[in-house]
């Protein structure tokens, strides 16, 4: 048996007589510093992590984990100071704060799990000034990082890598922050792929103009037809209404279509839950209401979620195509650009002037493959080619 001073089973409460050594966190040869957890003791009340109070190397474990031993009996030998030794450093080596029957406070600094212990204010300051807390030394109890510790780092001269151009930093709005987090998550976790197509909307434009001529409600837009076309494609391929979740591939309501809306607070994607059950005029009214609600901040949870596919349309600009990022709760998104006039060959090969819109379907490769996505996009294009079909309220019997 190698030498060394004993580490004892500590007394953790007035009434504690013995303790269960639940778990060793060190093994012979481990070098520990103050604050490192040595082992876990369970009493009838709680589990407590016992920390090293001085530096040392563990030599021998005397008690196996799972054994119960009386308070004060040796559980290991180490090179650190002896118990109750007169070395001032190690005076408290045996038991952390044997307060009568009081639950020990969480003690965390220098934890083996790598969690940084900092006050909420210190965290906030660090976040705002871009300081990595793991680089800050805490001056609080057990190494807790306090605001002053972060401020000290903040005021110390910064490395001269910053450009000298004056910049300004604005706090993102809540919506902006949420969108940023969600889209980052999406780009990190969803393997995106894209299928592209041009849809002929020549006829659609005529139909639209006619409908709007004798209509008093929300004006029908090309986007409303794209919503209707997407709903029609979902009706044709109901198994497209699904998404990847940790639990598996989840089926979603077939009739739901999300609509990306640019609002003063940032991007929102409310869902038209029953797009599949509506004719074009009804879609226009419902989508108009959703957009107004989104802009006025009056969306409720009922207006969100449940769709597998969304639509993002930048057609009001000159952009010809948009390659969007799939929402992390969905599996596909259709980007639509502006309508352009193009010459296309007719049956005889003569150029005819047509109106077209460029579509990009971004998809989650975990749920769809290229063929399925292409067929789906085809169905969207075909629905846009035949705008009259969108006018009718779809027959629910036809799936």
């Amino acid at each position: 048996m190698s030498g060394g001073n004993p580490l004892l089973m500590p007394k953790l409460g007035l009434t504690m007589t013995e303790g269960l050594l639940a778990e060793w966190r060190v093994s012979p040869g481990t070098t520990v510093r103050p604050g490192d957890v040595l082992f876990v003791v369970e009493t009838e009340k709680i589990a407590t992590e016992i920390e090293a109070t001085a530096e040392g190397r563990i030599e021998t474990l005397l008690v196996e984990s799972g054994k119960t031993v009386p308070v004060g009996s040796p559980v290991a030998l180490w090179t650190g100071p002896p118990p109750g030794g007169d070395a001032t450093e190690s005076a408290a080596a045996t038991a952390p704060e044997p307060a009568p029957d009081v639950v020990p406070e969480s003690r965390a600094a220098g934890r083996p799990d790598g969690r940084t212990v900092a006050t909420p204010l210190a965290r906030r300051i660090a976040r705002q000034s871009g300081i990595d807390l793991s680089t800050v030394r805490g001056s609080g109890p057990r190494g807790r990082i306090k605001a002053a510790d972060v401020e000290a780092v903040q005021t110390s001269p910064a490395p001269a890598v910053r450009a000298s151009v004056p910049t300004s930093v604005r706090q993102p709005t809540n919506v902006e922050r949420i969108v940023a987090d969600r889209l980052s998550l999406s780009k990190r976790t969803i393997p995106h792929f894209y299928v592209l197509a041009d849809a002929d909307v020549t006829e659609l434009e005529h139909v639209r103009a006619e409908l709007n001529a004798d209509r008093t409600g929300t004006r029908i837009t090309v986007n409303h037809f794209i919503i209707a076309a997407t709903a029609a494609a979902l009706r044709a391929y109901p198994d497209f209404a699904c998404r990847w979740t940790d639990a598996g591939i989840e089926s979603l309501p077939v009739g739901a279509v999300g609509i990306a809306v640019d609002t003063p607070r940032g991007l929102m994607v409310p869902v038209l839950a029953d797009a599949g059950a509506r004719g074009i005029e009804s879609i226009a009214d419902a989508a108009g209401d959703l957009v107004t609600r989104a802009r006025e901040g009056r969306l409720t949870p009922d207006h969100m979620g449940g769709a597998a596919v969304s639509i993002s349309n930048v057609g009001m600009t000159g952009a010809s195509m948009l390659v969007p990022i799939v929402d992390p709760d969905q599996s596909a998104i259709l980007g639509a650009g502006a309508i352009r006039s193009v010459f296309r060959p007719d049956a005889e090969g003569r150029p005819v002037l047509r109106r077209e819109v460029g579509l990009v379907l971004s998809c989650d490769h975990r749920v769809f493959d290229g063929m399925r996505a292409a067929r789906f996009l085809d169905a969207v294009v075909s629905a846009l080619n035949h705008p009259v079909r969108s006018i009718r309220t779809p027959d629910p019997g036809r799936g």
């Binding site: 006050t119 909420p120 204010l121 210190a122 306090k146």
Partner: protein, 324 residues
């Protein structure tokens, strides 16, 4: 400014309220001829007559219940319960009746009544005449609870409580009755729900109410000697309480200690701590500390009681802990 005692401030507020509004009546044990068990209603029977100052028998439940019915029928009763410990006997009237009438009758009527009662130990009154039970009432939707700390707030809050359309529990402190303090001339009402910053500071916020405000003040003096600048917030109202003022103070000092004479566990301090941990989380630069009585009945012996009452030292220790 004139200087008067806390008890006199209560007395003056009662008398001014009765002068101002003929529907204000007093009821309670010995509030009439005897002038109140502690003298709070001295002289009022003589001034306002027996139809407005009602000496009641030892029937706390019926007096409080009658106050509810009277308040629903046009009076503004002020009931005195001799010791807060005896409010156990008025719980149905306060909790099931007064607090709920407005709500459960769809807003048809309010219950403009006040229940005055003194809490607090330190006088050797023992386990059944010393308790601070205000948290019970603050837990009941429909009741308001106020607890003045000095003569000016005693006057101001009592006038506000009597004028309030809803039931208010007005908690006095026996140990403060003799306290002298400045009061404006003419004295002014205080708004219910507003805290007062008794002393400004930058390093730690000490929130207290009632007699504990003075404990906190003494602790702040001592801290100042050590170069620690403490801000003392006097809650004054416990339900509703002035969350905005406490949060604003916490946002300046980033450390919070809450002091009250009532038992610490499940007390007013627990609510404040929980709210601040929620709404003020990012402001905190140390743990929120509470200082209150230990979880035991108020003992009788002088030594035991002294150990029981939250002390200046206990406040200092708590401040040290959050400044660590």
């Amino acid at each position: 400014m004139t200087e008067i005692r806390y008890l006199k401030a209560v007395n003056t507020a009662l008398s001014d309220a009765m002068d101002a509004d003929p529907s204000v009546v007093l009821m309670g044990e010995d509030v009439g001829e005897a002038g109140g068990p502690f003298g709070a209603s001295r002289g009022l029977l003589e001034r306002f007559g027996p139809s407005r100052v009602l000496d009641g028998p030892i029937s706390e439940a019926a007096l409080a219940g009658a106050a509810v019915g009277a308040a629903m029928s046009g009076l503004r009763p002020v009931v005195e319960i001799m010791f807060m410990d005896f409010t156990t006997l008025v719980m149905d009237a306060m909790v099931n009746q007064a607090a709920k009438v407005r709500f459960m009758f769809g807003g048809q009527t309010s219950v403009p009544m006040v229940l005055r009662t003194p809490h607090g130990g330190g006088l050797g009154a023992g386990p059944q005449h010393s308790q601070c039970l205000e948290a019970w009432f603050a837990h009941v939707p429909g009741l308001k609870v106020v607890c003045p700390s000095d003569p000016a707030s005693a006057y101001g809050l009592l006038r506000a409580a009597i004028a309030d359309p809803d039931p208010v529990v007005f908690v006095e402190n026996k140990a403060l009755y003799a306290m002298k303090g400045e009061i404006a001339d003419p004295p002014a009402p205080f708004a219910i729900g507003r805290a007062a910053i008794r002393r400004s500071g930058t390093d730690v916020t000490i929130v207290a109410y009632g007699a504990a405000v003075h404990t906190a003040g003494t602790a702040a003096d001592r801290l100042a000697e050590r170069g620690v600048s403490a801000e003392v917030v006097d809650l004054l109202s416990l339900q509703p309480w002035d969350e905005a003022t406490v949060l604003a103070s916490l946002s300046r000092t980033h450390r919070l200690v809450i002091v009250h004479e009532a038992v610490e566990a499940f007390g007013v301090g627990a609510e404040i701590a929980a709210r601040m941990a929620q709404v003020g989380f990012d402001e905190l630069d140390g743990p929120i500390m509470r200082v209150g009585a230990p979880f035991m009945p108020v003992p009788f012996s002088k030594g035991l009681e002294a150990a029981y009452m939250p002390s200046v030292d206990a406040v200092l220790q708590a401040v040290d802990k959050t400044l660590e």
